[in-house]
Symmetry: C2
């Protein structure tokens, strides 16, 4: 049987795998894994190999993007291949290319979904999912871009919240922090002066969503700039208009200033 | 220990539970479950009870919304309570209220995330997550609203895709279908005449995302109106501007007309 199954690992360690995911791995002829599109703080390949009694083959960005995932496609042509991916597999858009390639080769593809950083951070924040606009990634300073500022501005003009993912290079152990991201946004504000992200703007920082020790803090940007969020991964939310239940959530669950209750509706 | 753990079940059956979720259930003093905010086609309470060797207590909408979840809060005050919820727990905004109530009672809360319909349908579609705008739910005809039309129009004006969840009443076995949702949107178009959703608009229908037999079909609305998507749950996507890789994904993975390749960029 020629088959490629994309399996989401979830957010933190190998216990994020679902029972279905485990079954797929156990019945696979070959199992691949990539750990560069997202950071799973406590994931251990060795522990997972022991759990499933199988060897995993680690796939690099080069294997996938320069070699078009030939290793995986060849294995899937010969039998059942499972490809383990952090989070929910296709939130990393790079893997869609592999799925299309597989389809072109006549390989049947399936998806076993996992917990995604998107719904995890939104859920942790206590804000309402249907009030989020476009999501954006804030890049490292060397890839400076005003796009995140523009996206936050556009969402705010529509009353919508913005989820900002923060750039990471897992292989280099580099993770953009909430503190750094806010500094970058304030630099853009200094130039643009549109009042979108100022020291007095309320934002929400989330660290290690999906782990046993997530941190959630809502406060003014000037306070969050010096707040210690601890280890990565981290994300940021800029709220738009707040429903009163959302303001209450930020006060009760994220330690937001109680004055926030007064500006919601 | 006074604790309330919200656990996401995922999308289809009890195999959507993660290993972490299973551990939480096994170490809980009491386990509650609700199955009304979303539909898990093959989930069996009995099978899960056998798997974990524990009885589950089913929570109704009335228990949660009229009684403020007192059953769960009282159990969490007395020990470790686990509350099982379809998908990822806080995508259903109703559960945020319970988490706030718990915080007010001094009960520690944690989240074990599960696969969410949001990232599952977006992932299945092959469209890029960061190009989606606001999500909207299309209500049953008796709760008719032009909001979905407005949201789709606003997202389209920004070049963004719209994920439309379709209303459901699990306890009555009622699920709005893609066919019905499209009819409702065309009725609004007839009145508004803004050219947002016409028989010649491209849309993407997804059914049973997260199951072993999902269906994905991209086509003109006039074709999707009579396409048989099979069993629920179903969802709809209205694409905004398509990147050429997204058009390719819709052609290769969703059987879209090949002419779609020409309108992307």
């Amino acid at each position: 049987m020629s088959e490629l199954v994309f399996v989401g690992i979830g957010l933190h360690d190998e216990k994020g795998l679902s029972l279905q995911a485990l079954e797929e791995i156990k019945t696979a002829d070959s199992v691949f894994i990539e750990l560069y599109t997202s950071f799973l703080p406590c994931f251990s390949i060795r522990r997972l190999e022991e759990l499933v009694g199988k060897q995993l083959r680690v796939i690099s960005r080069h294997d996938l993007e320069e070699e078009s995932g030939a290793l995986i496609l060849n294995a899937a042509k010969a039998g059942k291949a499972v490809f383990l991916v952090p989070g929910d597999p296709f939130i990393a858009t790079t893997h869609i290319t592999l799925r299309i390639e597989a389809a072109k080769c006549g390989i049947n593809t399936r998806i076993v979904h996992g917990a995604s950083v998107i719904s995890a951070v939104i859920g942790l924040s206590g804000l309402h999912n249907y009030k989020f606009g476009k999501t954006v990634t804030i890049p490292f300073p060397e890839n400076f871009s005003e796009t995140p500022y523009n996206v936050i501005a556009q969402n705010k003009s529509l009353g919508l919240h913005t989820l900002c993912l923060l750039d990471l290079k897992v292989d280099e152990g580099r993770f953009l922090s909430i503190n750094e991201a806010l500094k970058l946004l304030l630099e853009i504000e200094q130039k643009r002066k549109e009042g979108i992200i100022t020291p007095a703007t309320i934002a929400v920082g989330a660290a290690r969503a999906g782990s046993n020790c997530p941190t959630l803090k809502a406060d003014y940007v000037e306070k969050l700039l010096v707040h210690d969020f601890g280890d990565p991964p981290q994300s940021l939310i800029f709220p738009g208009e707040l429903h009163f239940m959302e303001a209450e959530a930020l006060v009760m669950l994220a330690g937001a200033p109680k004055t926030l209750r007064g500006v919601s509706r």
